[in-house]
Symmetry: C2
Subunit: 210 residues, 2 copies
């Protein structure tokens, strides 16, 4: 068991990963599959599901399909896999390989609740449902909450989980950064839309009373 502690590529070097099995695919293969599949999903949503919608709605449908499938497939696989065969780009954060409980909790909520909710958001935008904005806001706030827990726990535990600075900036900061920026923008937009509706209904009711 003791020698197994160092027989993995993760940082911190003394992290214990009993039963660690190196992954058979290269990082470039994994990235290529992920980006290829994502491009396919985005193209499908843009040209088929969103063809009758305005450009911004189409873009949002693509985002929700992409992020929803990422949550369900990538993060769901992580949460429910019983082995340590972690994707290479998790070298950006060894807490995935170490099965840190905060990371599992956040990823579990993301995969089980937010993933399916994202696909519902694609449908809600396509059909112009009344819950479209509030659903998008709820998911985005959940993504932001998850990122906050993810970054705060890493900071409190010494922020030393990336194999090197390339992984630190490309995965831990860069890739996660999109899940902060885009939910912030969507939250801001949906919040305003919801307040506009509330104002609209209020004005209408005041007019009725007069």
């Amino acid at each position: 068991m003791e020698e197994a502690a160092a027989a993995h590529p993760y940082v911190p070097r003394d992290l214990k990963l009993p039963g660690y099995v190196p992954i058979s695919m290269s990082m470039s293969t994994i990235l290529a599959v992920y980006l290829g599949a994502s491009l396919f999903v985005v193209t499908f949503v843009w040209f088929l599901l969103g063809r009758k919608k305005a450009h911004l709605d189409r873009l949002l449908m693509c985002w929700w399909a992409f992020t929803g499938l990422t949550h369900m497939v990538l993060e769901g696989y992580f949460v429910f896999s019983l082995t340590f065969q972690r994707q290479h780009f998790f070298k950006g954060d060894s807490r995935y390989a170490g099965r840190d409980s905060a990371v599992i909790a956040v990823e579990g909520i993301t995969a089980v609740i937010e993933g399916p909710a994202c696909l519902l958001a694609v449908y809600a935008i396509a059909k112009g449902k009344s819950y479209s904005y509030v659903l998008q806001l709820a998911i985005s706030l959940g993504q932001l909450y998850g990122c906050l827990v993810y970054f705060i726990t890493a900071f409190l535990e010494g922020d030393n989980f990336a194999t090197n600075s390339f992984y630190y900036y490309s995965y831990y900061v860069g890739a996660n950064g999109w899940w902060v920026l885009i939910p912030l923008l969507i939250s801001y937009r949906c919040w305003n839309k919801i307040c506009e509706s509330a104002n609209g209904v209020e004005t209408k009711m005041k007019k009725k009373i007069r």
Copy 2:
């Protein structure tokens, strides 16, 4: 250091708490101060701030004032205190005394973001602001997310942090349970109100187009 490991009342017994100082107040004193202060706040909000509002709105204003001050005072004190002088009722979960990073992250978000937002909700209900429902929904979803992370991480780490079953059921299950039940009810109500508004505006716009 070694003998310090056992010189505290928390479970698991091998939890290391260097610098642990027993708290000088009894559990009944702390509970009396907390319940007394809460009763004062609730009475103040019910009879003064909420006196012109409907009963449900008054009740909600009391809840937001109570939970907001709990978040800012009790949980804020925990997050930013540097000693281990933890309240006795945290015997219900030794992860507070052990400064578990997931618990600090959730409590930090709750104290810094949700606490002030709760007080804003009191104001928003009192003044009938257009963001009242969406703000209440956002805070409630945050409280639910926090509880989920709190319970899932405890479960993953063996769920063995309560000194005895009285603390387990009264604090860990009982006290936290209110922050699951009430946010669920509020989320449900606000979600419906927001959808009604969206529907109302949509109907109005359709009528205009005709």
